[in-house]
Symmetry: C2
Subunit: 91 residues, 2 copies
């Protein structure tokens, strides 16, 4: 039997990984100033999903889900903004 | 008060969105045969996160979390394999 504390820690670790995961992608876009290989359809579907996960977390009163999905969404929006900014036709 | 059924539906919708979101990215990579703008560090951190979310779902006996994170991980692994395959130095 895994204690509630451990479940919370695993949930937070999971959320931190998925939330922070977009950070290297964001840094890569800022450095290379290219992003046309990223699918905007992917990024917007992900954003919708992250919003729904946040709602799910609120309804379940599940703090790891709420906090990490809000962080993910913030990074996702940053990636979307830069992807649109640096979108150029493939030369 | 939102009923348990609705919470499950919102959770499933959230999971379907985040799981399916990688599909257009996968299709884009297959079509364009280019993926060097995708950060592998991003994809591997995401994979670790998805694995931890699956463990969290199992510990919480939360079916939407389990199923959708397994589906996400399968798509993520496909994107990683193709990203490595189609990784070429920027010309």
């Amino acid at each position: 039997m895994v204690s509630e504390t451990w479940i919370q820690i695993i949930g937070l670790a999971a959320g931190v990984c998925t939330a922070v995961s977009l950070l290297p992608q964001l840094i890569k876009i800022i450095r290379e100033k290219r992003a046309e290989q990223l699918s905007l359809f992917y990024l917007f579907t992900l954003l919708l999903g992250l919003g729904l996960w946040t709602a799910y977390g609120v309804l379940r009163s599940d703090l790891p889900i709420i906090l990490t999905n809000i962080a993910s969404a913030a990074l996702n929006i940053s990636v979307i903004i830069l992807s649109v900014k640096y979108r150029k036709p493939q030369s």
